[in-house]
Amino acid sequence: MKTAYALIFMTIVVIFMFYAITTLHPMGSPLHSEMDDYFIKNAQIEVGTNNVVTSIVFDYRGFDTLGEATVLFIAVISVVSLFRGVKKDEE
């Protein structure tokens, strides 16, 4: 009985996903391209980097990168605090 429910639920989800695929916007023609056009046109002039992605990550959206680095830092802190007991056992 449980398998039948799971199958029915699964079929509904798959049907909805395929429906969503058919209504997706075509790849390569976004609805709002003002931001992309600005970056492609002005990133080399304003920042001077050839790699536009890096200029967005480290200049236009620096706060995002700061958050990313902080997340990694917190992950390292949590791993260090998790393995503190191991060090005490060794000594």
Binding site: T49, V53, V57, G62, V80, L82
Partner: protein, 159 residues
Amino acid sequence: MKSDMSTVVRTITDFIFGFIIVFGIYIIIHGHLTPGGGFQGGAVVASGFALFFVAFTHDFNRKKPQKLYGMFESIGLIIFILLAFFGIYKTFFYNFLANSGSLFGMTIRPGINPGYFNTGGVVPLMNMAVGFEVACGLSLIVYLLYRGEKKDREDSESE
């Protein structure tokens, strides 16, 4: 204590370790010209250190690099935030070195160009700081996880 890994693994690690580190550093310092950047290059460097830890386990009890890694990771993050603060006279994260003519401040012709290294303002410096931080942080995670796993295995063997 003897290493778990065979001579083949240790010899290949000896040979390939330097190349992995150099490739990671190349990705970091050319982050403003070629695909990649601080995060990706730092992950490459950390993968080299992971290989080193797995191959040379017998060095664990003599050297304790976790304090060094933690310190360098903090230094990388502090440099990154300081670089962001240096542009505070306009905004936080203002690129005060770009097109200034000084360090990393060369003005380039937009469009296709050969890719001059001396460009990008604070972007290459931030790449280096973040790459430093990511390399040391991920190496520290790998080191601690592998040491904990090894300790666990030895405990279960001795019981």
